[in-house]
Symmetry: D2
Subunit: 344 residues, 4 copies
């Protein structure tokens, strides 16, 4: 089959012919890839930024945002059948450690990450296991949803954790309405009655946010902290979800909180710095957020099937991967880039 592999760091990945993987274990699932999302992490992998951390042996197949169709299953698989359309959770987890047994499989103590530390899904087929495949509503197409497997799932997960804090009359600030943030706004709108305030530098991003359910939008290059304070009657926001997490957004995010408010950290690059006196006197919280669980992905797919979450995408043939990479790197890619193997 065709597969996109990295042979050496800082060189363009190549389209290789490799053997198709095959089912051998009872929980194995062979998926024919319908679409593979291209993520900024893929660029970082190619640049070698993850080399030391993962220790992965080259060459290997990249790609960690995948959807497709089940082609073969092991003897013990009960949750999907041959022919099902599926999306793949980015992690392959053990199911046996305490986090897995709590439904918190993202903190699995024995997980692997296909496309990062073993062969991934920019290929015609991917071998995964039953714990990583979420069955989709037949109305959904792999190319529409593949990029929700990681980016969308992260946004969903943060929103899901914020739900108990968001009642009618409460306010939630979304910092950054880009790839993750615009999914976050849609999830907030579908799942909570909170008043949504979106902060971004880009006017088109703010316009889109309004269409997707934001009640207020704030230009990030003005004085967004005061703007949020005014919108919230001087109190600040109950919740801030920061999809930027660098270049000062993270300090502004904390400053936007009301007493007892919670800052949800999603984007990264910067650092949180708060004197303990401020943490305790305002009794505020900083909440970390990683990618979502398997059930989170299943729930996000329900929202997607019902038209409550939509993703903007640009499609490329699988073997045009380097065009897609160049477009992403050059800022020419609208929405998420999706690679589609020939004939699908």
């Amino acid at each position: 089959m065709k597969a996109i592999r990295v042979h050496q760091y800082d060189a363009a990945p190549t389209v290789d012919d490799v053997p198709e993987p095959t089912v051998s274990g009872p929980f194995d699932v062979l998926v024919e890839i319908g679409a593979a999302g291209l993520c900024r992490t893929d660029l970082h992998i190619v640049e070698g930024q993850w080399a030391e951390r993962t220790g992965v042996k080259l060459p290997y197949i990249i790609g960690h945002e995948n959807a497709g169709w089940v082609r073969e299953v092991g003897s013990a698989v009960t949750n999907v059948s041959v022919g099902d359309t599926v999306i793949l959770h980015p992690l392959v987890t053990c199911g046996l450690c305490r986090p897995c047994r709590s439904g918190d499989d993202v903190h699995c103590q024995n997980s692997e990450f296909p496309g990062l530390n073993r062969d991934g899904g920019m290929a015609e087929y991917l071998l995964t296991n039953a714990r990583s495949v979420v069955k989709l509503d037949p109305s959904l197409q792999p190319a529409e949803v593949a990029a929700l497997a990681d980016a969308g799932l992260t946004a969903y997960h943060a929103v899901r954790k914020a739900v108990p804090l968001l009642y009618p009359g409460s306010s939630v600030v979304v910092i950054g309405a880009g790839g993750l943030g615009h999914i976050g706004v849609q999830c907030l709108n579908a799942m909570t009655p909170a008043e949504i305030i979106v902060v971004d530098l880009s006017e088109p991003a703010l316009s889109l946010a309004k269409e997707l359910g934001a009640l207020h939008t704030v230009q990030a290059d003005g004085d967004p902290v005061n703007a949020v304070r005014e919108i919230t009657g001087g109190h600040g926001a109950n919740v801030v979800i920061d999809f930027v997490g660098e270049k000062g957004a993270e300090q502004q995010g904390v400053a936007m909180l009301r007493e007892a408010g919670s800052y949800f950290s999603v984007g990264y690059g910067g650092a949180i710095h708060i004197p303990t006196i401020d943490i305790i006197s305002q009794e505020i919280n900083v909440i970390g957020n990683l990618v979502g669980t398997y059930n989170d992905l299943d729930e996000l797919m329900n929202l997607t099937a019902r038209g409550k979450v939509k993703l903007h995408t640009t499609t490329y043939p699988l073997d045009a991967v380097n065009d897609a990479i160049d477009d992403l790197d050059g800022g020419r890619l609208q929405g998420r880039g999706i690679l589609v193997p020939a004939g699908r």
Copy 2:
């Protein structure tokens, strides 16, 4: 009546004769003070550190950790009667704003703090209102419990918030087993099945912690982060409650967490500094903690009446306030200092 008043900053407070306060409003409660705790905050008030923040007019009566007996009540008071032994919540709250209506009265939007921004309780009588008095079990004496009104209540509150995270087999680190911390250990032991690990510099404090229910103790001047990691099988702790919050304890506290763990900030003086990549990749939380609510104080008094929480104290006559201050300042005060008006 006799009362301890600050007349000018950076000068010793004096024992003055002032008029007794009297009940005028329907929710007023006049309390005969049985005991007034001396807190390090009182020293800071005398030094003038709070002058600008509170804008309080001198002279005024200090003291914010009080217990005593109800001597007169306004016409609308239904929760206490004349003769009841009571402890006073440190805040006087409005009961009308959203936080008050949610049971989160510490974030009252109209609160006052007797002893800080209006006349307090180092005196023979204090006028407060029905929302600030917690009725005590008759077995409890004001001198035993007064210092729980603020310091103890803060420790209780942090533990109460951590309870949902602490199951059998989970581990909680208490950093600092002093005034607040040793109450925290007792509350943890009474309210959770978690394995308690206590970190402190002082051997006597660690010994006391063991008696009060700690399963493990760790010397703070070794490598406490690694010690906690070893005790927890390499994973780190589910919860860290930091009663120190300065001089590096706050960074160590964060470093002791396991994935998805929560650091509870209580002590202050330092600053939390965490790269956002670390917050999200480990999905950890920083939880602020202020003093407890009215109901928290009621609950703490239940633990105290049942012998599950005990406080070490040293008693002084009310008019020996400056001896007590000197002893506290000079590090000669064992446990909390308690001022008792003559004849009580």
Copy 3:
């Protein structure tokens, strides 16, 4: 002022001239009534069904669903000002007992219920207190919202409690899409991503439910239990909210649950009967629901101001109260009946 009073049971109430109430205490609030909802409970009061339970002395003013404008406030009132539009929570609560201090003021140990056990709001003015008035967005008119004070608030409260159980892909059944139920559907749609299934006997009620956000509707006189089971893929619903609670609906509601599901009891008249073996083997729950809290009412008013909840009403002049009662009794009243004093 004019007021509707009951002088003897089983006789029509009369329009009387009575003295206007006046503010005397510091938390008193005098409200000029803009609208008073007519509730089936008012009919039961007139029939004497509540006589023994309340022991109220005749004559007295009925009416417990009120909204209007603040005309005078006591000296300690901080949450509303003269001129504010307000809706009245049906209970007057003490603010001092443990439930009040927890935000659970509906279980206040010293509450009163104007219109039931003391003078109510079918009048030109009502004297209440600061704890019972919720300030409204100026865009809202008393006549639009008055009936949400009790009926709507009950529906909101049940939905609010169900929110943590309702994730994308979960299903919630609403039994009865009448006065309370159609508010419940709107609240579910605004606050949760769950798939809403509505069961009712009336085709117009089912049509309205679809417009308001129901995904599926089920005729109550077929086999609604099996219909729900089919819609939910054989599993049953995660949550059932039963606004009927009699004539078999309550047994059907329980039978519609999936394993570990929760039946929310709101309507009454019948009885829940379940063998303990069925409760434990399916691990199902029965959750009681009374009227909502003060904060619940504030939240519901936020949804109303934003157009997410709307109520159908028919308006009558205050002194046409007996026409309204006759229409309600005779089944001729469309939506909720609202009495409006002359000149408002």
Copy 4:
């Protein structure tokens, strides 16, 4: 190996020689049985009460409360190793359905129950899988803990669910301090600060309950509802955990609740009957409880290893199973009966 098998209903099971099971799949775990608890359900199986419901083919090996040592593991097992002491969760679950993925594995949509619907653990060896084995602290012996696998786990699970409702000053009633109830009292004492009230017919059971942490005991054949009401200051209990569930205990349990209280149903045989008016006017809840999850069992073993939960047992050799059955049936068995294979 030796195994206790049922060949026909209503006849004594026999000690048979059967082939040892062997590991074939990657998640298989072969356990050498150290102890098998005898449960009243085993008697009901022998009587044929479960025949129709399970459709199990005779003969088969009974026994569903097991602990022992791992003797062989499949290639994918990561949570236990050969030589580990383990206790067996009573269910074998799929790990793939939504409940399993939520940590709620008791509601697995594809579970099996060894000893009930397939070969169980009254034998020298049992073949199970990695999802059912909980590794024990080396200090624990199989004979001490085996009976906690089902009976103890059920009590633990109910208490675990009640923890969020139980604060200092709240009260919890335990109805029935027998096999499950006396474990429940120990769990409540270890995990909550609530005031424990125990209701039972037997004086020795009440005495034991006091030793294990009950604050109050109540004779069940007096007027236990009023007794509880008096102990709780007229309010009733916040939580009632009913380990009896029949013969009127279930109606008494509900009647002991305070407003907004919760009745936890564990024991069965009777039926809950409550008019909907009472459910809603008191806003009370009925909470079903089945056996605990895998993580619950792990947590209970933590409490056991730390000496916080102890079980009274009487030991028999495996091939004396019919003596044990006769003693249980005849009311002569003290504590739980434990069968131990020869040489262990």
